[in-house]
Symmetry: C2
Subunit: 350 residues, 2 copies
């Protein structure tokens, strides 16, 4: 266990609970439910309504502008890339590809994580090179594999050519004389992404409705807790709060057949302890965001769960355990807000 | 005029009206409006609610399935192409590119026409090689520059891998034992596209509300009629009913600077008379679907209008005339139905 870095308050609680759980005696069905609920409440918490930020206070005007920009392809070098390309809302804001394909067919180095419930994580993306969703948007527009624009100025020039953006930028940033900037684009997209929150039946359960999960799902939650998944997958998002070495008991590529091998967070920090470390992905909507892992190397959730048991927990989970965990994970599939499902009509040059 | 083929009843009416118009005396403002309305009613007609088809009767179940498939990238060879990629609804179902970019960065030979109000035209696309919207969908999935799939069977295999499609296909085609076919995919997408109808203030005008257009727009409509635009741009869609030689008075490429020169419908029929002929594009939403012409060679609507006057009508339209026509064309920008603006949640393999 020593090599796992503890970075979050959820971690400590979770470890204590695994210990406590082993000594809990099982009595009546209803008591069981109550116990499970009590434990779950200590490990997880319900999703917030929106994921707020002190640095980027959310306003309706920013959300509106951010939603326009989320679908905007005209600010990419070849006119085909928008945020929605790699994060289509209808596919739970992931794209189903192993690695996303950006402008001029450039392959992104890693799998596109879902943007649903993404804003509350320790950082955006896999290796900690994007501090938050705003930073992710900011870096994407000039990043070679995504939008591929040569500079912030080039993005701003494109935006200024589309007359219809003048008003939405002014309304979102009323105190600025010249609000059409990449900085503000990032804030607006960030504000929109902070509304991409998808409560599920699991949230109703956490709020006290023990009947919100089926018996099978509760059994699965028990297994999820008991086998130790919660050591990393805890908190409101069931993950997203720490970086962990992928492959504690064995190298990950032995199981994922990853090629090339990705050194993960080490490529950012050059710290030996970060070799093969990745941000723990969240489990919200995980059943809908195949393929899995940083390189999308595994297609099936059940295979991903078994591999995680093997190389993170040193456990050879049996078929029943894997199925139980998968059943619980499906209960984390949430509702995408109606507003979010509506495509905006984009500003025109007209 | 001899080289223009008359293919539609709207054409004949339109030519007669241009003649009649020249002799119409102008009296009071209200009489003027009444006259204009009377003429307009003979040239144009309001949009239908949906664009029906005897070959492909529309059902709610087909529309629902068609909408899913419209957003489906997983049936393209590289997983990045869906109908919505080249026809994003938020950009009025066109993509703003000169020529669309399909799978593996392949360039499509022509500009992506809007899919709004597309189903009622003489054919789909520019040169008459796609008989209708269903045929367009059918040919796109295996066409090299768009989805790029090697065969219908390959598309069907991909669809069958996504469990969530079984039920929607069954519901849309309840009498078929094995409904997951490209033929049915085309019918479903066609049914959805037949609902992409965008009424505008011009329809209210045509239905008798003379005040639905502003004075400037009515002036523009007068110019649109009087200069002869209506010889080709008539009917419910203001175009889309005939093929016409592009460049009657002068070669089009002298003005559009097109390179390469596209021989248009000739490439389909090998009939000399079809050289440089293209389907007359519709003017519904034309102000929102820049760039213009079959190769997107012209960015600004006012430039496109001036070029059309020059090479189709042999008229050097002055600045005021061009502006008047553009003002009228803007009144053809319609409302995209609420239902259409909602992104569907796609079926999963889960």
């Amino acid at each position: 266990m020593a090599e796992i870095k503890v970075k979050s308050r959820y971690r400590i609680k979770a470890i204590l609970l695994v210990v406590v759980l082993s000594f809990t005696s099982i009595s009546s069905a209803s008591d069981e439910d109550e116990d499970l609920l009590k434990q779950a409440k200590k490990i997880f918490s319900p999703l917030p309504q929106v994921i707020s930020s002190k640095k980027n206070p959310i306003t309706p005007e920013k959300i509106l502008l951010g939603k326009l920009l989320f679908y905007e392809t005209r600010i990419s070098i070849d006119g085909t890339v928008s945020c929605a390309r790699c994060h289509p809302i209808g596919l739970y804001a992931a794209d189903g590809l192993k690695k996303s394909i950006g402008n001029n067919c450039k392959l992104n180095p890693r799998n596109a994580p879902t943007l649903l419930n993404a804003a509350g994580q320790i950082s955006a993306h896999w290796i900690g090179n994007r501090t938050d969703v705003e930073d992710q948007a900011r870096q994407s527009v000039v990043g070679p594999p995504s939008f591929g624009m040569p500079s912030n100025e080039a993005v701003e020039r494109r935006l200024k050519e589309i007359n219809g953006y003048i008003e939405p930028f002014k309304r979102a940033f009323p105190e600025e004389a010249d609000p059409i900037t990449v900085e503000n684009l990032a804030k607006a997209i960030g504000a929109f992404e902070r509304t991409l929150v998808t409560p599920s039946r699991f949230d109703s359960f956490l709020k006290g409705d023990a009947a919100a999960l089926t018996g099978q799902e509760k059994k699965g939650l028990n297994t999820y807790i008991g086998t130790g998944c919660i050591m990393c997958h805890s908190g409101p998002y069931a993950g997203g709060q720490t970086y962990q070495k992928f492959g504690i008991f064995e190298p990950y590529w032995n199981y994922t057949k990853s090629d090339p091998v990705d050194e993960g967070r080490f490529t950012v920090t050059k710290n030996e302890a970060d070799k093969y470390a990745f941000k723990v992905p969240i489990h919200r909507n995980v059943a809908k965001t195949s393929p899995y892992f940083h390189d999308g190397s595994v297609d099936k959730l059940k295979d991903a769960v078994w591999i995680m048991g093997k190389i993170q927990l040193g456990k050879d989970l049996n078929k029943a355990q894997v199925e139980e965990i998968v059943t619980f994970l499906r209960s984390l599939t949430g509702e995408i807000p109606e507003d979010v499902l509506k495509v905006p009509i984009l500003p025109s040059t007209d």
